[in-house]
């Protein structure tokens, strides 16, 4: 039974949302949103489980961008430059 067929069947049974946490392997669709110093992706097929000692997923609200310069204690590594290509996972 194909993945899409299973998802359709789950939806037909009324459990589409309940299966959403297993949907993300089917692919990602994303649209970037400005967030607090972070470009958040609104990933419509990815459902993040809220873990017991965790926190709720952040909202995609527009907040001010963080400044580049911060006072670092000694020994703090600098962030890496954006990579041209992500290494294959």
């Amino acid at each position: 039974m194909g993945r899409k067929f299973k998802l359709a069947l789950a939806a037909l049974l009324g459990f589409s949302a309940a299966c959403s946490s297993a949907k993300h392997s089917a692919g990602r669709s994303s649209g970037p949103q400005e967030a607090i110093g972070v470009e958040m992706r609104s990933d419509t097929t990815h459902y993040r489980i809220v873990v017991m000692y965790g926190v709720r997923p952040p909202r995609g609200t527009v907040m001010e961008t963080l400044p580049d310069s911060v006072t670092a204690p000694t020994g703090i590594p600098a962030p890496q430059a954006p990579q041209e290509e992500k290494q294959a996972e």
């Binding site: 993300h24 972070v38 909202r59």
Partner: protein
């Protein structure tokens, strides 16, 4: 009452979910990374699973060590915006470099959040955290004053936590919820407590119950009876139907007929599947509440990404858990032996939610 019984429709959906979930496991896409940045705490709660204290005898992990893992081991392999970093403790606010850590994490493109008991959350501190990129926060509030202060062993803990809640409901840009550890004394008061949270402006609420670990294992007064456990689940189910506040039971434990009625999704343990943690001593695990026998490596010896990709077998292949009371259980195909944190040093299951129903 839903109880253990699974209707045909739900059973069919669970079968489909289980099939789909296998590919989620195979993919094991990291979306949540805990950083246990300290074991120090300004409280000494009766139910603490980590057995935290003012001086735990364990040093905080230097920020630089965690950032090195992000820079060298996570950022090259994952989209930072899709990995939520959760600062965990201990009580994270005891670290006076928390804002710096948050700012550095955010600057690298990661959203971050934290859980707090609220004792040290002043308006000024909150402003500093938000300025440092804080995106999500949970406050522990375990009931009304008497119950909360009893569990927290501090006469000021309730008022401080409530003050924190009142600060946070005024922050529309933050994802925020209240987390409640439900004890027997709170069960008859759940309705009143819910109404109080709603009146305070709280929109999201998570409940969980004690499991026998850390200090909690030695205090039976904190645990729910089976009847109280069912009563709590019924309360959650009813409150969800009413729709006045988003409420859910925690991620742990397969709940039979209550599946999808007290949570948005079917039960699954995400530890080692989409959730990893870096413990205060550098150990690499799933969630922070999982015992040391399940640690998969250490950032001071191993490459985090290599560990995430190539180890974690006990988390991703749960056949080993089909023993003891799980050996003949027909629900094993759905629960896979329950949450990883519910297994003891020998791997035996400490607590089965399903059998409480």
């Amino acid at each position: 009452m839903a109880g253990r019984r699974l209707g045909l429709r739900k059973r069919l959906a669970l079968n489909i979910f289980s099939d789909l979930y296998r590919s989620t496991v195979a993919e094991h896409r990291l979306d949540t990374l805990f950083w246990e940045c300290t074991l120090r705490c300004n409280l000494s709660c009766r139910h603490c699973g980590s057995d935290c204290r003012v001086d735990p005898g364990v040093k905080d992990m230097p920020v630089a060590d965690f950032l090195r893992v992000l820079d060298e081991e996570v950022t090259p392999h994952a989209d930072p915006s899709s990995v939520l970093i959760i600062f965990s403790g201990g009580e994270v606010l005891v670290r006076d470099d928390l804002e710096f850590a948050g700012r550095e994490v955010a600057r690298r493109g990661y959203p971050w959040g934290m859980v707090t008991n609220g004792m040290a959350l002043t308006e000024q501190r909150l402003r500093g955290l938000v300025d440092a990129g804080l995106r999500s926060i949970s406050v522990s509030l375990d009931g009304f004053e008497r119950e909360h202060n009893y569990i927290r062993s501090n006469p000021l803990s309730y008022s401080k936590a409530l003050d924190a809640v009142r600060l946070l409901v005024r922050e529309p840009g933050l994802a925020f919820d209240v987390v409640t550890c439900v004890t027997g004394a709170m069960v008859p008061q759940l309705e009143a407590f819910r109404d109080m949270l709603i009146a305070e402006g709280v929109r999201s609420w998570r409940l969980f119950s004690i499991f026998p670990m850390g200090r909690a294992k030695d205090d039976p007064t904190l645990r729910l009876s089976d009847a109280q456990f069912r009563r709590m689940l019924e309360f959650i189910r009813q409150t969800r139907k009413e729709g006045r506040i988003e409420v859910s039971y925690a991620c742990e434990g397969f709940l039979g007929g209550y599946e999808t009625e007290v949570r948005d999704h079917f039960y699954q343990c995400a530890a080692g599947i989409s959730v990893a943690s870096i413990r205060v001593d550098g150990s690499i695990s799933g969630c922070t509440s999982i015992r040391a026998n399940f640690h998969q490596g250490n950032i001071y010896r191993d490459k985090f990404w290599d560990v995430w990709q190539n180890r974690f077998e006990p988390f991703r292949k749960r056949d080993w858990a089909k023993r003891g009371e799980c050996a003949d259980c027909k629900m094993f195909r759905y629960c896979l032996g329950g949450g990883m944190h519910l297994h003891d040093d020998n791997g035996d299951l400490l607590y089965c939610h399903y059998k409480r129903l």
